[in-house]
């Protein structure tokens, strides 16, 4: 091994001379010169393409940098300002517009109680105008697409987003189980008017409907509160449900996002 290293040393010293071939190109044959030119062309093209790709990729950042090199931005806005008086009038008009808009926007916030449902974190907030009245945990739609094993039917379980209004308030609600509730459990689907479909006590003490068959209601499955597990309804814990039921009236707004 030692010998080998020693042996290669002179070669190593000779290596640069070999690589330095183009230096003595004049004295060497034409194919050598042609080779070197070709090598330069290949390397130039390759590195050029790399450089071009980098410039292409970082063009937005380079543009940002280029903006810094531009001369300072010149104030170009046209202002109707023949005199201070004109400008003051303009300012007053803008102030008036500004205040009108601010008041209009303030009036859009509901004065009464309303419910905000955060379906990505499964949280609720009961608000009155701009004040937080109550915060709680809920369960919202699972975002599951259920496909029936025996036929082509499918259902998508998501809580709809948007602004809704309370359509009705129900005490001691019962649940009329739809087809998917049986299919999901691997059970045969009973007839449409079968008493098997009616379940009592599973929706808690109260339910508030907000359209298209969706409800805010209680649950027996408290363990899953805070998780996206429902079929689209909004499940609440008993205490939270009481607050929501007492404060929200028919017509109150429910915001789901």
């Amino acid at each position: 091994m030692e010998n080998k290293t020693q042996k290669t040393e002179p070669n190593q010293a000779a290596q640069p001379a070999q690589n330095d071939a183009p230096i003595s190109l004049e004295k060497k044959s034409a194919p050598h010169a042609k080779n070197f030119t070709l090598r330069a062309l290949v390397w130039g093209t390759f590195l050029g393409l790399v450089l071009m790709s980098l410039t292409l990729f970082y063009a937005p950042a380079l543009r940002e940098g280029a903006f810094a090199l531009l001369p300072d931005a010149k104030f170009v806005r046209d202002i109707h300002a023949a005199s201070v008086k004109d400008l003051q009038q303009q300012l007053k008009k803008t102030e008036r517009d500004f205040n009108t808009l601010r008041n209009r926007l303030d009036r859009l916030i509901p004065r009464d109680y309303y419910l905000i449902v955060n379906s990505s974190e499964n949280q609720i907030i009961v608000m009155k105008n701009t004040a937080v009245v109550h915060k709680g945990t809920c369960s919202t739609g699972s975002n599951v697409m259920l496909k029936a094993a025996l036929d082509d039917r499918q259902w998508f379980f998501a809580t709809p987003r948007g602004m809704f209004r309370v359509h009705g308030k129900i005490k001691n609600p019962s649940w009329r189980m739809p087809d998917w509730a049986f299919i999901e459990e691997g059970l045969p689907v009973p007839a449409a008017n079968s008493p098997e479909r009616i379940q009592y006590g599973v929706l808690g003490d109260y339910a508030l409907s907000f359209g298209n068959g969706y409800f805010v209601h209680g649950t027996l499955y408290k363990r899953t509160l805070g998780m996206p597990v429902t079929h689209g309804c909004i499940r609440l814990d008993d205490d939270d449900l009481v607050v929501v039921y007492k404060n929200l009236q028919v017509g109150s707004k429910i915001f789901v996002y």
Binding site: Q12, W43, P60, L70, E95, E121, M227, Y257
Partner: protein
């Protein structure tokens, strides 16, 4: 060890050394080499950097940002153009107040326009470091911005006193698919065939979503918002973010090439980078509809 390292280094460097020595001796070959090396990059630099910056529409001396902007310009344009230098102190003070108020009014105007729609909209107030989700004018979630960066092009627009023109009309979301998390985490499940299968499935844990949150929202009028989570990333998260950055770069390259092929100069997108907590960023991304509106105060 040191010896072998030196040997390795020599082996690595010597061919390059020899190549460059050769270039020094052959000016013609050197010229060809540097031309092939630099020309493609210079062409790209010219068409994708220099010309788009020089011809940036927002750098133009006259207003042309939008119909609303033109309308507003007509409202305020008159005979006298007040230049910085010519302004008396009083005039300058009044002008500054007017500009400030105009920008704030533009923000409220955009929010008012958005409140007329039915969908969830985004309102970003960089002055107070607040991002709000709004529905029918009611703020349904307010998030604190922990850090933000704004494009220089936007700062220049402000310095020109023309920012309010750009902000008066709400922005509309064009693209929102660049993200490290899915827009809607949909799971497809085939129903069990019998109760035994259903019971077995009931024992399975509900899968919890764990995603780092980084996403880009592209709006009209060349505005891009990049949302980043403030929390540290795991190794896997870093890899995912790297992939996301690559995708973002690729998207901008694609856009630039498309513009060039159409015989146009690519336009510089005004980027605002916002850092929020992971929860806030996720809630915003999931809540925004495909064509969401945005009101911006800068």
């Amino acid at each position: 060890m040191a010896f072998s390292l030196a040997k390795f280094w020599r082996r690595l460097v010597n061919p390059f050394k020899a190549f460059f020595q050769g270039l020094r001796q052959h000016p013609l070959v050197a010229t060809i080499f540097f031309l092939t090396l630099l020309v493609p990059a210079l062409v790209v630099l010219t068409f994708l950097v220099i010309l788009p910056v020089a011809n940036n529409p927002y750098e133009a001396e006259t207003s042309s940002t939008s119909a609303a902007a033109e309308e507003h310009a007509n409202d305020t344009t008159a005979a006298a153009v007040v230049a910085d230098s010519a302004m008396s102190e009083e005039l300058e003070g009044l002008t500054q107040r007017l500009l400030e108020l105009d920008i704030r009014r533009a923000y409220l105007q955009a929010r008012w326009e958005l409140s007329k729609g039915d969908s969830i909209s985004l309102s970003i107030n960089l002055r107070d470091s607040l991002v709000s989700l709004e529905m029918k004018g009611t703020p349904i979630r307010q998030c604190r911005i922990l850090r933000f960066e704004v494009s220089r092009a936007l700062e220049r627009l402000q310095a020109k006193g023309r920012l309010h023109e750009w902000l008066t009309t709400p922005f509309t979301l064009q693209k929102s698919d660049l993200a490290t998390l899915p827009k809607a985490p949909v799971r497809v499940v085939t129903a069990p065939r019998d109760t035994l299968e259903a019971q077995a499935r009931a024992k399975e844990e509900i899968p919890l979503e764990k995603n780092d949150v980084h996403f880009t929202l592209e709006f009209d009028r060349n505005l891009t918002l990049a949302f980043e989570q403030a929390q540290d990333l795991s190794f896997r998260g870093r890899l995912k973010k790297w992939g996301y950055e690559l995708q973002r770069g690729y998207a901008s390259v694609k856009e630039a090439v498309h513009a060039l092929l159409a015989g146009e100069l690519p336009q510089h997108r005004m980027l605002i980078t916002l850092e929020l907590t992971q929860e806030d960023a996720k809630a915003i991304y999931r809540a925004l509809p495909r064509k969401a509106g945005l009101a911006l105060l800068f």
